[in-house]
């Protein structure tokens, strides 16, 4: 019996899986990046469906807005005309296919036996009552304050590292 939620999920799952396959098989990286964009929007939509509107917003802002734009920049920066005639796949493509399929088989068979742990306190009612962003913020700035600060250091390192690596060494 296909109810509305099931239909909604199936549509998203289909689009995500199908476009993922398209993404990894495009010759032109620009196309790949654009398909990726669509995937990200669908994933964000799934997050909304899972009552995680803050994560959905982040998904759009960070992934679609920042990371993919960065990818596009780089793709445009590089001269990729030679890519049109080069081999698309590496030598380990068959191995990759076998590995991916067997990995999927393993995951699918083991995940059947997955049992959820004890439920937490943030049920749908509670989140609705205090709004999702506030709930996330409460947890993030209390219990996960230290990892949060570490994450800021990771980002700082990434900024410094990216600048250092991409900087053209003028004196030589």
């Amino acid at each position: 019996m296909i109810t509305l939620p099931v239909f909604f999920f199936l549509y998203h799952a289909l689009v995500i899986v199908g476009l993922s396959l398209v993404t990894v098989s495009r010759r032109n990286p620009v196309h790949s990046v654009l398909f990726m964009l669509i995937i990200f929007f669908h994933i964000a939509s799934l997050y909304l469906f899972l009552n995680a509107e803050f994560i959905a917003a982040i998904q759009i802002i960070v992934y679609a807005g920042a990371i993919l734009v960065l990818f596009l920049f780089v793709v445009f920066l590089l001269d990729l005309r030679a890519e049109e005639h080069a081999d698309k796949y590496s030598m380990s493509q068959p191995a990759g296919a076998v590995l991916a399929l067997s990995l999927f088989a393993v995951l699918a068979s083991t995940m059947r036996g997955f049992v959820l742990g004890p439920h937490g306190i943030y049920g749908i009612e509670k989140i609705t009552e205090m709004t999702h962003t506030k709930a996330i913020g409460t947890v993030l700035y209390t219990k996960y304050l230290f990892p949060f600060e570490v994450a800021s250091v990771v980002l700082l390192v990434a900024i410094v590292g990216a600048i250092t690596l991409a900087k053209r060494h003028t004196k030589s």
């Binding site: 380990s92 191995a95 590995l99 990995l103 393993v106």
Partner: protein, 655 residues
Amino acid sequence: MSAYLLIPFLPLFAFFVNILFGRNFIKGQAHWIAVPAVTVSCLVSWVIALKMFMSHDPQIINEDLYTWISSGGFRASVGFLIDQLTAVMLIVVTTVSMLVHIYSIGYMHGEKGYYRFFSFLSLFTFSMLMLVMANNILQLYFGWEAVGLCSYFLIGYYYEKKSASDAGKKAFIVNRFGDFGFGLGIIMIFLTLGTVHYAEVFGSIGTLTGQGIVVLGFQMDVITLIALLLFCGAVGKSAQLPLHVWLPDAMEGPTPVSALIHAATMVTAGVFMVARFSPIFNLSPVAMAVVAVTGAFTAIFAGSIALVQRDIKRIIAYSTCSQLGYMFLACGVGAYGAGIFHLYTHAFFKALLFLGAGSVMHAMGGELDIFKMGGLKKKLPYTYWTFLIATLSISGFPLLAGFISKDEILFLAFASGTTVGKFVWVVGVITAVLTAFYSFRVFYLTFHGEFRSDIEEMKKHAVEHGHDPHHLLHEAPWTMRIPLLLLAFGAVTAGWIGIPAALGGHNKFAHFMEPVVGHPEVHAGHATEYILMALAIAIFIGGLLFARHMYITNRDLADKMAKKFSFAHYLLWNKYFIDELYHFTIIRPTMWVSKSFIVGFSDGKIIEGIVNGVPRAIGQISGFIRHVQNGLVHRYATVMGFAFLAIVAIAFIWR
């Protein structure tokens, strides 16, 4: 009362300073560190020894400094024992060492390894002091091996010279034979008594009386076995038959080393050790007889070789062997005090002989052959007079040090009343004749008669070898003369503390030593002693006159005698072929086994097989494995993924 610690540790300090900073910083000034250190150590020794000598109830120091080894029932400490015996040894070691240090300033001047020489000289002094001051056998053994090591370093001081480095090795290896026995002896003592401390060993050694042990199928008395094993070490270190071969070769070292190590101190360690272990030896008449007979044979054997040799230092070296034989002879008849007394006087006149010889060599540009010398009396007055005193002392001029101590030994041997005692007395008397003869032979050939070399040739030779030809046939500098004068003083007076009762003295030395080494039995009166003394003087005069007749007044006689007794001369000249005997019985078989079996098979095939095979196998395996790392990220990721799958599979199977 721990000032005594300065005695061994100041020389050690000097050693460290010189060896660490000598090469780059101190260089030619090394004596400014070594000489003060050993001088202070000498002064402290004298103060301690005199204090003991003067008091009626001498205070004996016996202190454990710290525990060296503690393992199960075995306990050894670094500890010091200063009793009468040690006090005498301290005086001998530090005094001669100090004088030799001073002498070396002049003798070794300008040598390339000046700092090295002084540092090893200091290290030797430290080791020797550790040896004599030990309060347990293990520390004695430490000092024993350390002096052997320093001896090796210093014999091989001119290591560029093949003969010198060979002589160093020979000394070391020959000593191994003796020290092996010594080591076994120490182990035997520990096994039977469970301790290595002197006081405990000597306190309980009596309980072993009459106990037997089976060795290689022979029933043996335990105490005799221990004593003989210990004596093995003494035979090696003190160059007694049959392990005497290293001492003459050791003369390759610089002359101050010969004087200090191979005449006055290290070689007498064997005598010291036998005297130190007198409580053990006294319990075994067999071992005592062995000691006495070995000493007597060595005395006459080495003395006879010295008769015909031409190398001045080797003659004195054989003379040292011979005199050491006297000391063992004394110990063997129970007269340890007399043996130590002779050790003490011998240190002065024998060091003087060596340093005199060094002075002669200095003036002769390194020439050693006494037949190429002669008439040096006028050129080297100081050396001449001091050498004369030493010669008179060793050959028994009345009332000089050598006369008194040697006379005491012979008298006590004669008076011991045993067959062995009588026998060794006869041998000792014959040796005394030889001693007087060869000593004056050296003296006359070196200082009297015509000069038998070409001075121009010597100068040319000196220039060729980069030496200064100006000090040829000139007296040595003051730093070398002062030790000669001081030792000459010692060679005259050292014996006066032991003037026997028969000559109106009190023989204070023997009484001083009595608490440690006991007193020998005497079965003869003063009348006998006078007769023996007269005999000794007659021997001295006879030897002197015969040498004078042969080498001064009637020069042809020596050659005639050599022709007449050609076989004896041949035998003596070749030192009884002992070296050749060892060459064929020990060295050649050892070399053969080493070359054919050890080098060819065990080293060449097994060890090199492993040593080379393992790296080769690793290299081949690596050469194969390195293809895995091909630099392709895809390959790595694929392998990683499949490895993950494999782990999952294994987890599935084992669940």
